[in-house]
Assembly symmetry: C2
Homo-oligomer: 262 residues x 2
């Protein structure tokens, strides 16, 4: 049996809410064994960009990472957010260290190629250096990933944090028994978005399709769930969606939604 | 005989000059064996602070790192500068990874205590985790340090890069044969500041005192040289001062100023 590894992604909403973030950090520090945290961005990048007079570029309603925006996300994600999370975990006795994909060439990506839209400095992941990350985990470090990768040619790339979590789970799934947790501000996948007690404890692909057809899945959840099912199909042991403050319960299968093969 | 380790500090002047920085990175990537880069700040932090409307605090002519300035230096040093250096070294085939002192608890510090001046969020170094850093070097990683440490209680601290380089040299001096290089925009310690050919190849404490007494040492060099002599006294094998673009020559003893015991 392989060693357990928990890969936990937190959404920007948690980072933006000091009370929830503190509760999350307590909960994360309490998770036993090897673990990796992947964080998103939150509103700070928008605030810093506004402060510096950098306009958000939108093409056909989609956000574009132009070179000025790349500078801001590098500052905010890899600097402010990543280093504060690391320092605050250290204060909780969790021996954290921060990485971007450029660090130790841990996640290599390429600038997104799209037939119609130039997304700018956005990365699609090519490879994860599982041996290096395993080496760090074996030094008893908890890894904290910022959503930035690189192309190996000197370019940093803004990269979706859900995707990073999924690629890490896939890359490390050969050496570890991985539990992948998408944690956010809700109790799990809800049957009724206004009722936190309506958590679906187990969700398989057939039920998911049915809920989508009936438009019972909140639009913002669809990319997250698509990623979750893709991760399962690619060999990740378990995928769980639930509240950031309840990590030990989520990992014990006592809260949240577990995504299942059928 | 211990393994060789080169610890190289670059000044902010190099970071601010794209031509010199490119030449430095080529030169750094060409250095053989285990190596650590320690970088300072440069003018970008001042520019970002101005852009965000954050005023530089001065007390009795000394810079103070207030909480807003700490946010800016964390962004710029640990985010922008560190990650761009890492990505650009990766592009040169140098397997770099960036750290602050918070990462892996590699450098622990405390907020400076001073009888008269509150310097704000400035760190004085307490300890270096040589075992962890040795572990990374043994994974064949080149470490790139940003001048930020932490206090273990959740606080990040702005920390002088010359001091970080010196503390790393001291902490790793037990396991490695360390060459510590302070690289900058001049050819070495100059007898005549206007003449790049007047490099003093070897400088011992007696000659240094004589030059200081005659006011032949440029004021900005004094803290750097004081650090260099302190490093030698604390057991660092070699200390060299010279031009950032000439690293292999500096390490071979063919350029720059070597600081000697006598």
């Amino acid at each position: 049996m392989n060693m357990q590894l928990s890969i936990i992604k937190i959404s920007g909403n948690i980072i933006d809410d000091e009370g929830k973030l503190t509760a999350f950090l307590d909960s994360f520090a309490a998770v036993k064994g090897k673990k990796i945290l992947v964080h998103g961005g939150g509103k700070l990048a928008t605030k810093v960009a506004e402060g510096l007079g950098i306009r958000q570029q939108l093409v056909d309603g989609r956000r574009i990472t132009d070179s000025e925006t790349l500078k801001v996300v590098t500052m905010v994600y890899a600097g402010t957010i990543n280093k504060n999370l690391v320092a605050r975990l250290q204060a909780r006795g969790c021996d954290a260290m921060g990485l971007t994909g450029a660090d130790g060439n841990s996640i290599r990506a390429h600038k997104r190629v799209h037939p119609e839209i130039d997304y700018g400095y956005v990365g699609d992941v090519d490879s994860v250096d599982a041996a290096f990350l395993t080496g760090l985990l074996m030094l008893d470090k908890t890894i904290v990933f910022a959503p930035i990768t690189h192309d190996g040619k000197g370019l940093l790339l803004n990269t979706n944090a859900d995707t990073i979590a999924q690629e890490l789970a896939r890359g490390l799934g050969r050496s570890f028994d991985v539990s992948l947790v998408y944690s956010f501000e809700k109790s799990g996948v809800l049957l009724d978005t206004d009722n936190e007690d309506s958590v679906i404890p187990r969700l398989g692909p057939a039920f998911y399709e049915e809920l989508k057809a009936k438009q019972l899945i909140f639009a913002g959840m669809i990319p997250k769930l698509d990623n979750a099912f893709a991760a399962l199909r690619s060999g990740v042991g378990r995928v769980i969606i639930g509240r950031a403050e309840e990590l030990p319960l989520l990992l014990a299968g006592e809260a949240g939604t577990t995504i299942v093969h059928e």
